[in-house]
């Protein structure tokens, strides 16, 4: 069965500021979509609004997964319906190792699940101690991203949002994780929305479609060649070409808990 995530005219505010201003996107099983945009364009906000984080207020639009409206459903229901979010800054839960988390998440029985976790850990070069420790608890950035990918691989959602899976990774680690994601799109037909602001990830992940988010709107979409054009023009150049004036949204710093800290 082909799954389809459809985002239509999605609007959201945080602390009274419009941060998503009518986003349209469609991601189907086995496809890889890249969502690119500068800091403050609303990328992470979109990821968390899709997942149902309560800090954001949805003010319009719709998000459906295989025809089921997700807006209004709690986060865990969205996840159970097949949506997954690999976070840019995964949250530490001390004392809750990934095995316990996945057992609660998947209701799969012990030995089979344990074997699956171990297989993925080997594949992603994640050392045993990170399976024993609470998830993300005193993990390095690279270890966190490996663990996010491990969970993705074990849970095999219909649609996965990867929020800057590439941040904090060296080239070799990036290649390994992107390779695993790519194989999941082929073997398990996972549909991927990969949020990034660098083209590096896309060289590994080979997106079918590239979308550019500026100031809370998808301003243009295209094939992989759009990423190459971005590399040449930069966001400002592309915005000028498209006649778009605003790139980022000035949200009050404290208002958006999941915003980029900036670089």
């Amino acid at each position: 069965m082909t799954s389809r995530l459809v985002v239509s005219d999605l609007r959201a505010t945080v602390a009274g500021v419009d941060v998503l201003r009518g986003v349209n996107l469609e991601v189907a099983s086995g496809e890889v979509h890249a969502l690119m945009g500068p800091n403050g364009s609303g990328k992470s906000t979109l990821a968390h609004v899709l997942m149902g984080r309560s800090d954001y207020e949805v003010t319009g639009g719709s998000v459906t997964l295989d025809g089921t409206e997700l807006l209004g459903l709690p986060t865990w229901r969205r996840a159970q319906l097949g949506l997954f979010l690999a976070m840019q800054y995964p949250i530490a839960v001390p004392g809750v190792p990934v095995g316990a988390l996945l057992a609660a998440a998947s209701h799969r029985d012990g030995p089979e699940l344990e074997a699956a976790v171990r297989r993925e850990a080997d594949r992603l070069a994640l050392a045993d101690e990170f399976l024993a420790r609470g998830v993300n608890d005193e993990f390095s950035g690279g270890e966190q991203k490996r663990l996010e990918t491990l969970q993705l691989a074990v849970l095999r959602p219909r649609i996965a949002i990867l929020d800057e899976l590439d941040s904090g990774l060296d080239v070799d680690a990036l290649r390994g994780l992107a390779g695993r994601v790519a194989s999941l799109t082929r073997e398990a037909k996972v549909g991927v929305l990969a949020i990034t602001h660098y083209v590096r990830l896309l060289q590994e992940l080979r997106p079918d479609r590239v979308h550019v988010l500026l100031a809370g709107r998808v301003v243009t979409s295209g094939g992989p060649e759009l990423a190459d054009r971005l590399e040449v023009l930069g966001y400002e150049g592309l915005a000028a070409e498209l006649g778009v004036e605003e790139l980022a949204i000035e949200a009050p710093e404290s208002a958006d808990p999941f915003a980029d800290p900036g670089f």
Binding site: T75, W76, A79, M87, V93, G95, A100, L101
Partner: protein
């Protein structure tokens, strides 16, 4: 007719030395001044509700203490395990009261007056007891008072692990307990207490350890039951380079009040103490943690750490956390941390993004919160059982 009289104390029988100690305390009881919550050390307690007249002491034949069977090889090495009421060890009389007499209050006097017997372990110098020794102190009975006692005496370089389980039934009951841990030079003692009283039990307790030179104590407490359950946990380091680790987990629900007063008392140089008390409260339960680190002038080059963390799971529940330092030495390292708060929203959200419903997520988070204490319990099977017990208590949050 007043129940807590010297005659009643005398009638409990046992060794002469025990009887003498009991009667002396019973005579002192008449003039003891009962505490009130106006005193700082009783602040946030429910001592004002306490009424001794509601209780009477248990008879000798009403008590129940399960004593572990001692390996013959250990007995031949001089290890003694038994019930204080009839234990055959001339040293027991000398050791009884060593710790508790150094930190008396009205409830230790009451305890001394009506203690019938208790868990007794003495390990002579150099002997290592590999297998944990389990004692079960069962008490209860409508309107009765019980006075469990534990006395652990460990000689130079000896090692032992002792586990006490205290459980009173569901009737209104007073449990006034004293635990004494005497850790000799270079000895290693691991002590675990598990408190699973019924919902109408009032507990007043003192656990006090004296830790000698190069010795190490690790004490772990699990406190789950009681209506009002108070425990003073004290550790005095008397010898250079002595070490004391005090750990506890507690979980209160319903209208329970769990009350902990701790003392890490350093009276020797190069000593180290660490304390980690972690608790959760739900429904209308309350917890109190009040802890003091004392570094005396003679405790130079010592380190002391004190951490108390509390999860408040429902709006009606509450936790007090009051860490204190008293430092008289000028070359020491000391830190304390305390936290009271609800379950972290971000943690819950993270688990929810994996498809875990919020109630299950909370159960995972609470168990995870306790994990660093439960993981350090010296008896892994006990840790697994307690994890399930806590799981059940947290599971009550569902629905």
């Amino acid at each position: 007719m007043p129940a807590f009289t010297p005659d009643a104390a005398r009638a409990l029988g046992g060794h002469d030395w025990l009887l003498a100690r009991r009667v002396a305390a019973a005579e002192q009881l008449a003039s003891v001044s009962w505490p009130s919550s106006a005193e700082e050390i009783w602040r946030y307690s429910r001592v004002d509700e306490f009424d001794l007249e509601r209780y009477q002491p248990r008879e000798v034949n009403q008590r129940s203490l399960d004593v572990p069977v001692l390996d013959a090889g250990l007995a031949s090495k001089g290890v003694v395990v038994g019930d204080l009421i009839d234990v055959d060890d001339s040293e027991a009389a000398d050791w009884l009261g060593t710790c508790s007499d150094a930190s008396p209050d009205a409830f230790t006097v009451l305890h001394d007056a009506f203690v019938v017997g208790g868990a007794y372990v003495r390990v002579p110098a150099g002997v290592v007891v590999e297998t944990p020794l389990f004692f079960e102190h069962r008490s209860g009975g409508d309107g009765l008072a019980s006075f469990p006692h534990t006395l652990v005496v460990v000689g130079e370089g000896a090692e032992v692990t002792v586990v006490d389980r205290f459980a009173a039934d569901g009737d209104p009951h007073l449990c006034d307990a004293v635990i004494e841990l005497i850790v000799g030079d270079g000895a290693r003692v691991r002590y675990v207490s598990v408190q699973e009283h019924g919902p109408k039990t009032w507990q007043m307790g003192l656990q006090r350890a004296h830790v000698s030179r190069d010795a190490s104590l690790r004490s772990s407490a699990v406190a789950l039951g009681g209506d009002y359950a108070r425990m003073r946990t004290e550790s005095l380091i008397t010898g250079s380079a002595g070490e004391s680790d005090l750990l506890a987990v507690y979980f209160g629900d319903g209208d329970q009040v769990l009350d902990f007063r701790t003392l890490q008392d350093h009276a020797a140089p190069h000593s180290r103490s660490d304390l980690l008390f972690k608790g959760a409260v739900e429904d209308h339960a309350r917890s109190v943690y009040s802890g003091l680190v004392r570094l005396r002038a003679e405790a130079q080059h010592s380190n002391a750490f004190q951490t108390n963390r509390n999860l408040v799971l429902t709006e009606g529940a509450g936790a007090e956390s009051i860490p204190n330092l008293e430092i008289e030495a000028n070359d020491v390292r000391c830190s304390h941390a305390s936290a009271v708060g609800p379950i972290d929203d971000d943690q819950r959200y993270y688990l929810e993004t994996r498809g875990i419903p919020p109630e299950d997520a909370e159960q995972l988070i609470v168990l995870g919160f306790f994990d660093d204490v439960l993981n350090r319990l010296p008896v892994p099977t006990l840790a697994a059982a307690l994890r399930r017990t806590v799981e059940r208590k947290v599971g009550k949050l569902r629905g």
